[in-house]
């Protein structure tokens, strides 16, 4: 028996050696985030019973010719405190197989998909936010004629380690006219349309609930020289939750309109974006909780990279919002008075969002109320949600010194954006300044200093005070290509409550080599709202050590 085995291996091995190029390739990445938690009553940080918590992920991808297969192993033992506790234990919640054959692209298992801007469907993963709503099912993509891209899908959306009850069916078509007609002109047109429907059985004897909830959207993209226009309109039929609570159980429809116009030429870029949204949250289940959301309404504000500029972050209000966001990017040319030897980069940004005229459909009776996108533009009685006016200047002074300055004026409706009672905090106004200087000491060695200041003014009519004024200092020393050392202190010196005038000190050391990265940190984190791409989560305060390791292969 053993002889036969050995013989067969001997026969197989040369075959394996010869065909080694046909075996395909395996690659992937690994990440682990370990954090210890200790009690710190001053910042309301609570020690974890487990002392140490850990989130880890391993992605493996196998590719051979037209075939790809992949899986992600996820381990939450137990989930970090800023994660939902329903992420618990180990599992393989993501696995798929995909192949392409004569232009037909087939995926079975889990997949991420977005139609247009995502107004009616976007499934994605964001580790930082703890979001993963991938669909599990079947997806087909096909190009029947040049320039026509068709997608069809069916699946169930992931929520933590389970799948929500609704079955999601969707189709999207995009038609690139210039590709189809082989036009070479300066103007190009792309048209698109999509349809998404959710099926869930009416399990409520008291109400007649729609079992198939449909949403649809149409989009248009025109490019001409330096101009680019993108417009999208989305509509969703009524989707009552089916509870006895009046404000949850209404039959209003939803809509959204997006208009983006940009212009650019060498040295100059201008963007004007706006949207109108009314009752447009689309969920994978007849429920209100945000973990079921399967669409995405892009937030209209600058995605700030500095801590104090993002202390009061904007988030889209899908139940009713009108807003716009404009940017001017300009590079003052080299060898001019303000440009200096290397040129100076400017970015002026103004963003504002407010409630829609007459209130959103959700709180009105749908049969008598129609929200009007055009009336919302003339800001009269509407409530301000967020506004941000800021200027960023980036200047390379000489070969050693680089300077980045930001000045901002922000208004933040804490009640509306954080779901507080109206009148609790009102609108917090803040003025923020950031100076970021880096100095190259010698080859590979750089020191960088960040100074940030936030001066805030509470709403005089509000009953509670916000956090008040902040300082922040960050010092970073980097040795390319392997090391970085950083220390930062956030100091809430202007807190109305003297006991909360605290320092939040954090230190970290990182080592990087090729595709591997190690980082050790220690310090206090403040409780707050953490956002990526306008989607936010509440983060509890914490005090402890952290260890992050990530690696690619």
């Amino acid at each position: 028996m053993k002889k036969i085995l050995l013989l067969s291996f001997i026969f197989i091995s040369p075959y394996l050696l010869l065909s080694q190029n046909n075996l395909g390739q395996i690659n992937g990445n690994f990440e682990t985030n370990l954090q210890s938690y200790t009690d710190d009553p001053s910042i309301d940080a609570i020690a974890a019973d487990e002392v140490i918590l850990n989130n880890a992920y391993l992605n493996i991808l196998y590719t051979k010719g037209k075939f790809t297969g992949g899986l992600r192993y996820e381990s939450y033992l137990n989930a970090l405190q800023d994660y939902d506790a329903r992420y618990q234990g180990n599992g393989i919640p993501y696995r798929f197989a995909r192949y392409t054959s004569d232009g037909l692209d087939v995926t079975v298992g889990n997949y991420y998909e977005q139609f247009g801007n995502g107004l009616i469907l976007r499934t994605y993963e964001d580790k930082g936010l703890g979001i993963d709503n991938s669909l599990d099912g079947v997806r087909l993509k096909y190009i029947p004629i040049n320039g026509l891209y068709v997608t069809g899908l069916i699946g169930k959306s992931r929520t933590y380690f389970e799948y929500s009850e609704g079955i999601i069916r969707g189709a999207d078509a995009e038609f690139n006219i210039n590709e189809a007609l082989k036009l070479e002109g300066e103007t190009s047109y792309i048209l698109g349309g999509s349809f998404v429907s959710r099926f869930q059985k009416d399990n409520n004897p008291a109400f007649n609930l729609p079992e198939n909830v449909a949403s649809m959207s149409a989009r248009l993209n025109i490019m001409h020289g330096g101009f680019n226009y993108y417009g999208e309109y989305a509509y969703k039929i009524n989707d009552p939750v089916g509870s006895f609570s009046f404000d949850e159980n209404n039959y209003s429809t939803g809509k959204a309109i997006v208009n983006n116009l940009t212009y650019s030429q060498k040295g100059l870029g201008i963007t004007i974006e706006s949207h109108f949204v009314d009752h447009m949250e689309f969920r994978s289940e007849r429920a209100k909780q945000k973990e079921f959301i399967i669409n995405y309404i892009p937030t209209l504000s600058k995605n700030h990279a500095y801590t104090l500029l993002a202390l009061y972050p904007c988030a889209t209000q899908p139940e009713g919002e009108f807003g716009f966001n404009t940017n001017i990017f300009y590079k003052i040319p080299k060898n001019t008075l303000f440009g200096g030897k290397y040129g100076t980069k400017l970015n002026l940004n103004f963003a504002r969002t407010n409630s829609i005229e007459g209130g959103n459909s959700y709180l009105n009776d749908s049969s008598s109320h129609t929200s009007n996108p055009f009336k919302s533009i003339s800001i009269k009685d509407e409530t301000l949600y967020f506004s941000d006016f800021n200027l960023e200047i980036n200047k390379k002074i000489n070969k050693k010194v680089n300077l980045n300055l930001v000045l901002a004026k922000q208004k933040y409706n804490k009640d509306a954006l954080e779901g507080k009672t109206i009148g609790e905090y009102g609108i917090v106004s803040s003025t923020i300044a950031v100076a970021d200087v880096s100095y190259k000491i010698k080859k590979g060695h750089t020191i960088r200093l960040e100074l940030q200041e936030l001066l805030s003014k509470d709403d005089a009519t509000a009953t509670n005070h916000a956090d008040g004024d902040w300082h922040m200092v960050l010092a970073e020393y980097t040795i390319s290509p392997n090391w970085f050392f950083a220390i930062q202190d956030m100091y809430n010196y202007g807190n109305y409550d003297e006991e909360k005038q605290l320092h939040y000190v954090n230190t970290s050391i990182g080592f990087m080599k090729g595709a591997n990265r190690f980082e050790i940190g220690y310090g206090k984190k403040r409780a707050g709202i953490f956002c990526v791409g306008g989607v936010c989560k509440e983060v509890p305060s914490s005090n402890g050590f952290s260890l992050n390791i990530s690696s690619n292969f």
């Binding site: 080694q20 690659n27 680019n228 937030t299 390319s480 090729g514």
Partner: protein
């Protein structure tokens, strides 16, 4: 007998693993160009010269620092090594419309693509940006690097010089 069996298993395993790990190339995944057309990333080429693929986003400070730093010396790099830089933005629909205005206003001469659904970055195991890959003239991924700190561009140039000889 058993020893031989184990040995042959090891030999097979060794060759299997080594053949798996050799010649890592780009996957067959589509990205969007700035004209809105889908392009298979495997079709990018540079006449047998090296290609740098850099994943970035308009909201990522170190990414912009890296690409702005390289932009100043890009012409020299191209002359010396024939390298081409392909910058792939992972901006989603919140910021994707700012990619072209930002690129143009900064005067970058790179080849730009969009990966808004992160199909390509997921296939290459890119979980954070910036993340840089270096491809040799045959399209093999020969080097990769996560993050950017000032001075990292010099290591990248050394790596390019090694394979462009």
């Amino acid at each position: 007998m058993i020893k031989k069996l184990i040995l042959s298993l090891f030999v097979i395993a060794f060759f299997t693993v080594s053949s798996f790990s050799q010649n890592r190339t780009l996957p067959s995944v589509k990205v969007k160009n700035l004209k809105g057309s889908l392009v298979n990333i495997q079709t990018i080429e540079n006449d047998g010269n090296p290609i740098v693929i850099s994943f970035w986003a308009t909201w990522c400070k170190p990414c912009k620092k890296e690409l702005n730093t390289i932009a100043e010396v890009y012409e020299d790099w191209q002359e010396e090594t024939g390298v081409k830089l392909v910058a792939i933005s992972i901006d989603d629909s919140r910021s994707a419309s700012k990619v072209k205005p930002y690129v143009n206003s900064s005067g970058w001469e790179y080849e730009i693509y969009l990966d808004p659904n992160r199909d390509l970055s997921r296939s290459l195991g890119v979980s954070t940006v910036p993340h840089t890959f270096l491809l040799d003239g045959k399209g093999n991924i020969v080097w990769e690097h996560r993050g950017y700190i000032e001075g990292d561009e010099e290591e990248l140039l050394e790596q390019i010089e090694q394979i462009s000889k």
